[in-house]
Symmetry: C2
Subunit: 490 residues, 2 copies
């Protein structure tokens, strides 16, 4: 395996590709967001939630970054399992021609490693001196113009060699956040998650700001400070980079080497660096920020009715107050209850007291430990070619709805134990069944006997929606032999 300490090489001016950039937004999209279960799942984490209208938090973050002046490329660091979902999200909002390189992590090691990898990548591809703007993909920002102004201030400070944080004026003694004491742009100290009494004092004093988790800094300054304050972490990240094929010059996406990245210590940039560095500055800002870090934070985004109930979907309340209810698909009725958070999804229901929502994490940890399906994914599962939803499962049969994107195809495959009936609900299907190929229009159907090689494709320009009725002795997803697969899964 190739082993080359890349930053050293690029410092010597031997950069292999790319152009010099002033500002590179880095979208950090790896988080799990278990606090918003059952809406978020391991395979459908918080950045993918559509909390406000039609756009996901990730799409909103991307558009916000793309709208900043001088941005000619946006880097994203995410979990490798989220590659296709991330591309889908960007595809729907991306301006033509804007490069959107991806760094894929094999596991999550928190923000410090993600940003260290990003800095090394940026030096490699665009030379030293690039200013990074680290943007968590799971925050809400209400005032985009104020955000852009704050970024402009931060970039100016970053260019002078400072590590710049964004400080939000607190409007409540929130105990989930990190606080920083500031005097103008100077940061005096960080205080992580203070107890409530202390948080109240901070808010009262007027000298404390919430640490928004957004950072701006030159790659060189950041890497130097990391070398000083977290040398082991940086060394482990350099090791990963050295073992990652094509890191400096390969095609997109870059898949970080799993074995070495697993050895990188876990750490947030706050803990690892900001709390220790003497080069930290803050841009006080007020751009309608929320980290939507709990169900109570999310609840506050919905307008209450006269009883203090905030409801989304089909909800009826009788003699109930101060509840938040999200029930998009089924009727939820509340009778004589108060202060509840109720979140209903296809396969899991959460009922929590609003003062105990932090314990949702414990529920999810328990589900994950048992490999419970509802901790991992929703009923609707995304695939490179589209998505499928299991509608019903029973003895010897399973019914799925498949959506295949225009000009996409599933792999050429075969099942030993199940046969499949396909009924086209909308769009056009191209079906390879045994030897022959045929086209099926809306309302037409076909039958794939067990043991027959087959492939489903959508040759058209609109989504293909198809109902698949499987029958057989064994209907597990693992009864599949792939002969040819556009995504390297055969």
């Amino acid at each position: 395996m190739r082993r080359n300490p890349l930053p050293a090489r690029t410092m010597k001016g031997k950069q292999t590709s790319g152009e010099s950039l002033q500002l590179l937004p880095v979208i950090l999209s790896g988080g799990a967001g278990t606090r918003l279960w059952p809406l978020s799942r391991a395979e459908h984490p918080k950045p993918f939630l559509r909390l406000e209208g039609a756009r996901s938090l990730l799409q909103a973050t991307f558009r916000r970054a793309a709208a900043l002046p001088g941005v000619t490329s946006i880097l994203t660091v995410t979990h490798r399992e989220l590659l296709f979902k991330t591309r889908d999200e960007y595809g729907a909002v991306k301006p033509d021609g804007l490069p959107t390189p991806l760094l894929l992590e094999p596991c999550s090691r928190n923000t410090a490693p993600s940003l260290a990898v990003s800095a090394l990548w940026a030096e490699c591809r665009h030379g030293p001196g690039t200013v990074l703007l680290a943007l968590p993909a799971d925050h809400l920002i209400g005032d985009e113009a104020a955000f852009a102004r704050a970024v402009a201030s931060a970039v100016r400070l970053a260019e002078t060699g400072l590590l710049v944080t964004f400080g939000i004026r607190p409007d409540a003694p929130e105990t989930r956040y990190g606080y920083l004491e500031a005097e103008g742009q100077r940061v005096l100290r960080f205080v992580e998650k203070p107890p409530e009494a202390l948080a109240r004092e901070f808010v009262r004093s007027g000298r404390f700001l919430w640490n928004a988790g957004i950072f701006c800094m030159r790659t060189g300054v950041f890497l130097e400070e990391l070398a000083t304050h977290a040398p082991e972490l940086l060394a482990a990240v350099r090791e990963t980079v050295a073992h990652t094929p094509g890191f400096g010059d390969g095609p997109d996406p870059v898949r970080l080497d799993a074995e070495s990245f697993a050895l990188v210590p876990d750490g947030s940039i706050d803990h690892v660096l900001m709390e220790h560095s003497r080069q930290v500055a803050v841009v006080p800002a007020d751009f309608g920020w929320s980290d939507v870090g709990s169900w109570s934070a999310l609840a506050s985004l919905t307008r209450p009715d006269s009883s203090g109930n905030r409801t989304l979907g089909q909800v009826r309340t009788v003699a109930s107050g101060d509840c938040y209810v999200q029930s998009p698909k089924r009727l939820a009725t509340l009778v004589g209850v108060r202060d509840l958070i109720v979140v209903d999804t296809e396969d899991a229901l959460l009922i929590a007291h609003r003062d105990r929502v932090d314990e949702v994490k414990a529920v999810v940890a328990g589900l994950q430990a048992q490999g419970h399906e509802s901790a991992l994914r929703h009923r609707e599962v995304h695939r490179p070619w589209g998505s499928y939803t299991v509608l019903e499962e029973g003895s010897r049969f399973k019914i799925k709805r498949l959506v295949v994107r225009p000009r996409h195809a599933l792999s050429l495959q075969m099942h030993h134990h199940r046969s499949e009936h396909w009924v086209v609900v909308s769009g056009t299907a191209e079906v390879e069944n045994g030897g022959g190929k045929s086209l099926l229009q809306t309302d037409e159907s076909t039958y794939i006997p067990a043991g027959t090689r087959h492939r489903l494709a959508n040759p058209g320009l609109v989504d293909l929606v198809l109902i698949e009725v499987q029958s057989g002795e064994y209907l597990g997803e693992d009864d599949i032999v792939r002969f040819d697969d556009a995504w390297g899964r055969s």
Copy 2:
């Protein structure tokens, strides 16, 4: 329309059919049971609920009646819409050869009219002097032997010309029940739904019993007492009987005339008769009775865990106590809550404080007023030939699972706007499609184009399970033209 005051005729000894009976159980199965919504629905009322193991309350009531000595026929009064469901329930538990005549009401008028019709019917079919045992079909009785002993005592008293009630020794100051003050078998007075303070006093005194709503009396005595205390009601019921074809001698079931029955005043036998008659006796009894008349009553049937939570199905609780949760199909999680009743069904969810469960009625009334589907029926809909469940509906498509009973068939029918794909999941289907007839085995499928006459039948000895994918512009249940129907619906 024929008009003949039947009881007068039968009093003259001109009974047209039947034999003299000593004891005729009358199962009263018309109630709605909105208090147990969303488990009960207008078309799936409380008697059909399976609260304990595999048998419905109706089946348990039927078996209990059939097991009584001397029972050679069981009469049931129910809503006409429940005919097929009732026959299904009985079919699964009925001893061979036991006659189970049905009186079908076009609407519900409470127990007094139902029992008056039953008494007239019994005199007609079996002569005067039959002893009726009125059994609500929605109660639980734990000790069948004690029940049989109490009935034997009641029959002896009824034969002496008394109206006999069953009095349950109260173990709590329940305010939903009627109480009766007793001295031995003599009833001193009835007190309907006392306030809690009074109920406490009643329980303490030891002289009060709960009125279980079970009655035993000779038809003649009952009708005479009705003539004295509720002459208008009795006259209106006689009017219905006179306008009902085949009431005295027609085949089963007897469908009560809708126009005249609608004019019968609503009344419970307690209010209308028992509270006024001087011929009332009580059999004190202790046979593990519960009317399961609310979610809190139902909750008490489930054993609590160490935190006082009573759970059925997939339930996880964290820092929660004294809750009742029923979630058979999906994962329900509770975090930091107390004293909740949570009932989850396919299409509706109830979350109620356990002290406010009586207000569930108000929720259902609101839903009924709006014709909300969840007030009327479950996703699974029963039909004379079996049942169907809508699995998924979308633009231009609907997916159903059909279960057709052995040797049953749907009507010969045609749809203008939709075509149907059928896939046999298990069993054998006989399909009439346009001109021809064919047999489909498990895993085979067929296609019914819009405008084609078709019929689906199950010629086999096991259930036929079939997935139907409908597609078309309009998919309402009313797009159906029936040409031939075994149940007279064409």
